[in-house]
């Protein structure tokens, strides 16, 4: 049981993918103009990570070495396409919002990284737990950025007006430069904490 907990905790915090290994921030930024987008994207990455980890772990003894990478890509792309179809069917406006960024989860360095580094070597349950941990770790970071960008940039939270009428939201946060700058400050905070508070 503890191995499951470790796999989950590693993903969630100790090895939080986005900052510790600076992985997967490609889609992290484009989608975080609204918190709702970030939640859906986080859910997508978590579901795909768990699903592909499970499948790769199930097949790990049968995959021939030389097509290993291509098989993993197809499995991940399969899960992503499934999620994309789900979005188109059940929440079409969100699928419009996220646009190509749902499809780009396939090249998300986290998921392929986890299947290569973890699922190929561990049992099914541990791999699913690892996928869940990493997915939630990724989503947590996404939501944090999205809250800053939406509240700061357009004065709303989940679509409802939050800033008092007088306050003028900082439009730059919604634009690309703002996203990079927020990411930079958060990465700095993480690195600062990681190195035990030495400036």
């Amino acid at each position: 049981m503890s191995r499951l907990r470790d796999a989950f905790l590693d993903g969630l915090w100790r090895e939080n993918p986005v900052f510790w290994q600076v992985l997967g921030i490609c889609s992290a930024l484009a989608v975080t103009t609204r918190v709702e987008n970030a939640l859906y994207m986080g859910a997508a990455v978590t579901v795909v990570a768990m699903g592909s980890n499970m499948m790769v772990s199930l097949l790990r003894r049968f995959i021939p070495r030389d097509v290993r990478l291509m098989v993993e890509m197809v499995i991940i792309a399969g899960f992503v396409a499934l999620f994309d179809l789900y979005l188109k069917a059940f929440s079409y406006p969100m699928s419009q919002q996220l646009g190509p960024y749902v499809g780009l989860i396939v090249t998300n360095c986290i998921i392929l990284g986890r299947t290569e580094a973890f699922a190929l070597k561990n049992g099914v349950m541990e791999s699913v737990a690892d996928g869940l941990g990493n997915g939630l770790g990724y989503s947590a970071v996404l939501v944090v950025i999205a809250v800053i960008r939406e509240v700061g940039g357009s004065g709303t939270f989940l679509g409802h007006q939050v800033l008092p009428a007088g306050a003028q939201p900082m439009r730059v946060l919604v634009a690309a430069p703002g996203a990079f700058i927020i990411m930079s400050l958060l990465a700095w905070a993480f690195q600062y904490m990681k190195e035990g508070r030495r400036v």
């Binding site: 900052f19 600076v22 992985l23 997967g24 921030i25 490609c26 889609s27 992290a28 930024l29 484009a30 990478l69 291509m70 890509m73 197809v74 792309a77 399969g78 992503v80 396409a81 994309d84 179809l85 646009g99 190509p100 499809g103 780009l104 396939v106 090249t107 998300n108 360095c109 392929l112 730059v172 634009a175 690309a176 430069p177 703002g178 996203a179 990079f180 700058i181 990411m183 930079s184 400050l185 990465a187 700095w188 690195q191 600062y192 190195e195 030495r198 400036v199």
Partner: protein
């Protein structure tokens, strides 16, 4: 003609796939530490983006788009819509193209291997290349225009990483808090670069 010019300017400047689309950040941050490697990777991304965009556009327009196979299966194919598998086909085409180019380079252009070849394995997983193919579908470009768009986006990405590599060379000699060095400062610089590039949006011609 002005339409092509529009696509090129959009790809390189105003709708730069990295600075406004946030695509290809993983290798952008890792490789921009070294200028020579950035030149190599920029060249490789431009080369691969151009051809994969064209190839994927051909397959999409003649096979995957809704009702695309009318030329093959006649009118009954009008209702067939394969766009939902375009993601998997695009990935396979990109991975296949990269492997073939890598083999050809290793076999007949060993010196080019040092400049271009070693970066190719990095590219299969680079989101920018897949991003170009996915955006090309949304913009509904014809195969020829998609190739031009692929070239422009690749060149835009290359321009961004070369500029960043040049900036980071200056950083090595400047003092900054230790925790800020590396990823955080690169992200901040990218933000400033993105702000500069957004100025092109107001361009009229």
């Amino acid at each position: 003609m002005s339409e092509l010019l529009g696509i090129i300017l959009a790809g390189v400047l105003t709708h730069n796939i990295l600075l406004t689309g946030f695509l290809g950040m993983c290798s952008f941050i890792a490789i921009s530490r070294d200028l020579r490697a950035s030149l190599g990777l920029g060249l490789a991304v431009t080369f691969v983006a151009t051809f994969t965009a064209g190839l994927n556009a051909l397959i999409y327009n003649y096979f995957l788009a809704p009702g695309a196979m009318v030329w093959l299966l006649g009118d009954s194919a009008r209702s067939i819509d394969l766009s939902f598998v375009s993601l998997i086909v695009f990935i396979a085409v990109i991975a296949g193209f990269v492997q073939v180019v890598e083999m050809v380079i290793q076999r007949w252009f060993p010196l080019l291997h040092g400049v271009l070849g070693i970066f190719l394995p990095l590219i299969t997983v680079n989101c920018a290349i897949l991003g170009v193919s996915l955006f090309m579908v949304i913009k509904g470009l014809t195969p020829f225009r998609a190739t031009v768009y692929g070239f422009a986006s690749g060149a835009g990405w290359a321009l961004a990483i070369i500029l960043m590599a040049a900036m980071r060379r200056r950083l090595d000699t400047s003092a900054m808090p230790r925790a800020f060095a590396g990823v955080p400062v690169t992200l901040l610089l990218t933000g400033l670069l993105a702000a500069a590039f957004s100025a092109f949006a107001g361009m009229e011609f």
